[in-house]
């Protein structure tokens, strides 16, 4: 009989455990004041305490915390940021003039800071993604000038330096262990004052910013990995901005809060050219003919995607005008030929669950391929569970979602890693001399216009092999409260909040 009071006592302890709540109250109350604090719900929780050498770098860019020497403008060209101008002295030598700026900790931004930052990035292990194909050394000429040399010619160096992974932080940020902490060490208009695990961060306006004062007084960031939960946060007015609204949730948003932008993310069907059914070019061509990507864009992606005509979509403004006609493709096998050629062999179609649309796309593609005479078996798993199998070529076709402009903001890095013989992410197992030549030619080209042309020539070469069937170019839906002004819709998903973003 003593049990009941004891149980009550135990239950009464529940509120005492409330110390475990993460306190969001601190900033939330202030959001009503003029200018206001922005409440932002981001999608990808920090993996490495916002280290610029990890995935987290994009958050530093989106939240305007860190800056590099350069930035990308709307067209994807390099624009001044911490450097005011630059000149290319010879193939491997560049000189950057720096502006006067201050770090969040009050110290001055100088040429020495640039050298220190780039040295640390180069020495980081594993190497940051943006430096995977280049080695650079920086030298301070005087307090306001830096010379950067690359080991081999790198025509896109100014674009590369815009990567948030090469942001410049104050000396305090870099530890002996090789880690970098952006907390209070960046140069952007907002400084991080507090990071709570993988769930929250508090940012305050940095009044000493060289470009003037930001309109918002601060940012309260919440990371919400689940897309529906993010949408709910916006709909319940718990967040002012929620990025990446899933296509299944987008129709539920008030149209005034729903903003879509073409992204550089492309979904394609990768065919394994090195083993299995699709070593036969005629069957690859048959698969290409079978896939109807417009059915995908309208259904699985709910209209938030464009049917793909090539590897590069509408988010890359010059792609459509410079597109090269594909020629020399193999003759597609007919349905009967496909049946006889694949006799008894099942096409293993892989897709991963990390992006909700991909398994649905796989089911649509499966039906399309089956109509063309293939027998299809799906293999749908979490990405990390299947990556080793993918790299080892243990599949026939894969629905892959890929960012076509990686950190360099330049398409060559993607083409080289995904489609060349020695590419590290060559899941298609493509070994084609024509493709290798075309990609190498594009990589060497320094002139912007010619480089774009050569990139599109390489695209045509790759499409000729039918190693990849482009499906759709995704659109990103950003949820932005009606009271928020000045949010940037960036196809490269590098920026979100700027100096001008504020509550109206």
């Amino acid at each position: 009989m003593r049990s009941t009071p004891r149980l009550l006592v135990a239950l009464a302890l529940v509120p005492l455990l409330g110390g475990c709540f993460s306190g969001a109250g601190a900033g939330a109350g202030a959001s009503d004041t003029a200018g206001g604090r922005l409440r932002v719900a981001l999608a990808v929780p920090p993996a490495q305490a916002l280290s610029p050498y990890s995935n987290d770098a994009t958050a530093l860019g989106k939240l305007c915390v860190a800056e590099g020497l350069t930035a990308l403008d709307r067209d994807g060209a390099a624009a001044p940021a911490l450097a005011t101008s630059w000149t290319r002295q010879d193939a491997t030598t560049w000189v950057f003039r720096l502006r006067q700026a201050k770090f969040h900790d009050g110290t001055d931004f100088t040429a020495a800071s640039v050298v220190n930052a780039l040295d640390h990035a180069g020495a980081a292990k594993p190497k940051p993604r943006v430096l995977s194909d280049v080695t650079l050394t920086a030298k301070a000429d005087d307090a306001g000038t830096v010379t950067i040399r690359t080991k081999t010619a790198d025509p896109v160096l100014p674009l590369r330096l815009a990567s948030p992974a090469l942001g410049i932080f104050s000396a305090k940020a870099y530890t002996a262990a090789g880690t970098v902490s952006p907390l209070g060490t960046g140069t952007g208009p907002f400084k991080i004052t507090k990071l709570t695990g993988k769930t929250q961060a508090t940012l305050d306006r940095f009044d000493g910013y060289w470009g003037g004062k930001a309109k918002a007084t601060g940012i309260d960031v919440t990371w919400i990995a689940d897309g529906t939960a993010r949408t709910n946060a916006l709909r319940a007015h718990e967040a002012d901005i929620a990025e990446w609204i899933p296509t299944a949730q987008a129709p539920l948003l008030d149209p005034a809060t729903r903003h879509e932008v073409s992204s550089v993310r492309a979904d394609s069907l990768i065919l394994n050219t090195s083993a299995g059914i699709f070593t036969d070019p005629a069957l690859r061509a048959a698969a290409r003919g079978a896939v109807d990507s417009s059915a995908l864009a309208g259904s699985v992606f709910g209209g938030y995607a464009d049917a793909a005509h090539g590897l590069f979509g509408p988010a890359i403004p010059w792609a459509a005008s410079r597109r090269v006609e594909v020629s020399g493709r193999a003759q597609a096998a007919t349905v009967a030929e496909t049946r006889s050629k694949t006799q008894g062999r099942t096409l293993r179609l892989a897709a991963y669950t990390n992006r909700a649309e991909l398994p649905e796309a796989a089911t649509v593609v499966q039906q399309q391929l089956e109509r063309a005479g293939f027998t299809v078996q799906q293999d749908v798993r979490e990405y990390t569970q299947m990556e080793a199998d993918l790299l080892a070529g243990r599949y026939d076709a894969l629905i892959l979602s890929r960012v076509t402009l990686l950190d360099t903001g330049d398409a060559v890095a993607y083409l080289a890693s995904d489609y060349t013989t020695n590419g590290a992410y060559n899941i298609a197992g493509l070994k084609d001399a024509g493709v290798d030549r075309a990609v190498a030619a594009a990589a060497e080209e320094g002139d912007t216009g010619l480089r774009q042309q050569k990139i599109m020539q390489a695209e045509a070469e790759i499409l000729r092999t039918d190693a990849v069937v482009p499906l759709v170019h995704e659109k990103v839906v950003q949820g932005i409260g009606t009271n928020v002004e000045g949010v940037v819709l960036d196809p490269r998903e590098r920026s979100l909040i700027t100096l001008d973003t504020h509550l109206g």
């Binding site: 993460s22 993604r129 769930t199 529906t228 319940a236 995908l296 990390t384 990556e387």
Partner: protein, 586 residues
């Protein structure tokens, strides 16, 4: 009797815990997937995994040393309060794991409150009628079975939408204060409370039939005075079910944690398991195992407190044959559910479940599509019908296997108890990961993984009921007449345990279906687009608000199945028990 060997129980716990930890520590080496690759992915997606990069990660983490040295170093650090640093983030593990544990345990207590409330409501009718001695029949159990069949993640989505977004009464997500506990606790607690309540409701009539209750009643005790001692007697058998049902939620509420964006231990463990980030995974596993043991000891202590000397001195009365008839409604429920399910299945089987029609996307129910279509324009009725046989077949097979394993281990005494405690807090997804590590993706993998951990409720129940049964007078009388262990088992113990376990299994059947489907992302189980009820619910969860019919059909089918199973599990009971128990007592 079980107390005679407390240290055998301790040894069982240590052995089970060590085996669990060792399995986790060897995960990357078992799976053959390079942890350098998964760690690199977790840090930096889209990065080309060149040999140099992987070598750098390997060197940084000391992966070349192999699992033994890694595990040794981690264990060595524990006494100093150092659980190592995360391979992915490089941050110390202990603070993040303990804060996640704090969140999950807080949520667990809130869930416990809801569980108790729901269980009380469900058993209220029996309790009130029984205490007035007006209990003529058992209820249909339909309410308990229906609530127990509600998928937690679906309930979570529904609550978040209705009370979080539409009405704005509670925050739709996050973990910012006591208010944000309400919806997750309801989502977790209602189905759990229904299971516990269903078991309690099922066990109460036996207690009301015990001679002392009659005596008390005849002695003029008011009905209100009867409630407490009756509950006290009955709860002792149900309490162990809180272990797998409520304590298991600390690590096993991943789906609900996702919906409400709660930084709990389930998500932390899953994320680190997928990235093969061993230090946090090992720490989480250790804490979960310790939690299981602590909860097990607490439950044991509570039971002894409830039954007290009766348990020790063999003073429990034999539960007499419940002479209660079946309510006519039970028969109706049974027949109605069966007919409806059969109709849906037959109608569905006549249609094509995998025909994708992107033009017929998310159509609401109509003559052409009686249950509507899903996001790919597939007919929901067809998918439901084609999934029925496979879903129920696999779930029943798994349940039977779990019941058999559970009863065997439940009878195994102290050593089995240790294993039960340790595993009852381990989430099924961890078993799934270990299974894929060994077998790779496979159709039977999901069933196997669920069997690995799914037996704990039945083992705990069997052990508790046996302990009580052994303390009954009639059993001791039987022993004194020279009954051997086989006779005891066949004629007394099994008949006493089986009906309750069957009821438990019936109430847990929907959960089993959902857990089986939840392992799909590891490549375990049938691959899509094979229709399976669990998968139907999971893949249509995002469309809950946009097209509610896509989840309504499968959820309804699950409820029907659950009611059917619950009604079925209590259908044939009374006769057999009367025949077998009477003889030795008289």
């Amino acid at each position: 009797m079980a107390d005679a060997s407390p240290w055998r129980a301790g040894a069982g716990r240590v052995a089970a815990g060590s085996a669990m930890l060792a399995a986790v520590a060897f995960l990357p080496w078992l799976s053959g997937t390079d942890p350098a690759l998964t760690v690199l992915r977790a840090r930096s997606a889209d990065q080309a995994p060149t040999a140099d990069q992987l070598a750098a990660v390997r060197e940084q983490l000391g992966l070349d040393q192999g699992p033994f040295i890694q595990l040794g170093r981690w264990l060595g650090g524990l006494p100093r309060g150092d659980a190592g640093t995360s391979w992915v983030s490089g941050a110390p593990v202990l603070p993040q794991v303990t804060s996640a544990l704090g969140v999950s345990v807080t949520l667990m207590f809130a869930t416990l409150v809801v569980t108790i409330a729901v269980a009380a409501l469900i058993s209220a009718r029996t309790l009130s009628l029984g205490s007035r001695r007006r209990l003529r029949d058992r209820g249909t159990g339909a309410v308990a079975a229906s609530l127990a069949a509600l998928p937690k993640f679906l309930l979570a989505s529904l609550l978040a939408t209705v009370f979080g977004v539409w009405l704005g009464w509670f925050p739709p997500g996050g973990w910012t204060g006591p208010m944000s506990m309400v919806l997750p606790a309801l989502a977790l607690g209602v189905p759990t409370g229904a299971v516990i309540g269903g078991l309690l409701d099922h066990a109460l009539p036996a207690t009301f039939g015990e001679p002392w209750v009659r005596t008390w009643h005849a002695g003029g005790f008011p009905p209100g005075r009867l409630v407490r001692p009756v509950l006290r007697r009955t709860l002792a058998g149900v309490l162990p079910q809180l272990m797998p049902s409520v304590v298991g939620l600390v690590g096993g509420a991943v789906a609900v944690e996702k919906v409400f964006d709660i930084p709990g231990l389930g998500r932390l463990a899953l994320d680190s398991a997928l990235a093969q980030d061993l230090p946090p995974l090992q720490t989480a596993t250790l804490l979960l195992a310790l939690l299981g043991v602590a909860a097990g000891l607490l439950v044991k202590a509570l039971r002894h407190l409830l039954l007290g000397p009766a348990l020790r001195d063999g003073g429990l009365a034999a539960p007499p044959p419940p002479a209660l008839g079946r309510r006519r409604a039970t028969g109706w429920a049974l027949g109605g559910c069966a007919a409806l399910l059969l109709a849906v299945c037959v109608a569905g089987l006549l249609r094509d479940p995998s025909h994708v029609d992107t033009a017929a996307r998310l159509l609401s129910p109509s003559a052409a599509h009686p249950l509507g279509t899903d996001a790919l324009g597939r007919d929901m009725l067809a998918r439901l019908g084609h999934g029925a046989l496979r879903t129920t077949g696999v779930a029943l097979a798994v349940t039977v296997a779990c019941v058999v394993i559970g009863m065997l281990l439940g009878m195994a005494g102290a050593a089995g108890a240790g294993l039960t405690e340790v595993l009852s807090a381990v989430p099924a997804v961890l078993a799934g990961l270990l299974t894929t590590a060994v077998t790779g993706p496979s159709v039977w993998g999901a069933a196997f993984a669920v069997c690995l951990v799914g037996w704990t409720p039945y083992a705990a129940q069997t052990a508790a009921l046996l302990e009580q049964e052994r303390a009954t007078g009639y059993l001791q009388a039987s022993i004194s007449f020279g009954a051997g262990p086989v006779h005891l088992l066949r004629h007394h113990l099994l008949p006493a345990v089986l009906p309750a376990v069957a009821r438990n299994a019936a109430l847990r059947l929907p959960t089993t279906i959902l857990v089986l489907a939840s392992l799909g992302f590891l490549g375990l189980g049938e691959q899509p687009p094979t229709p399976e009820w669990g998968r139907l619910l999971a893949e249509n969860q995002p469309y809950l608000e946009l097209a509610p019919w896509t989840t309504l059909g499968p959820a309804g089918a699950l409820v029907l199945l659950s009611v059917l199973a619950a009604a079925g599990s209590s259908a044939r009971r009374p006769k057999r028990r009367r025949a077998r128990v009477h003889r030795p007592v008289s």
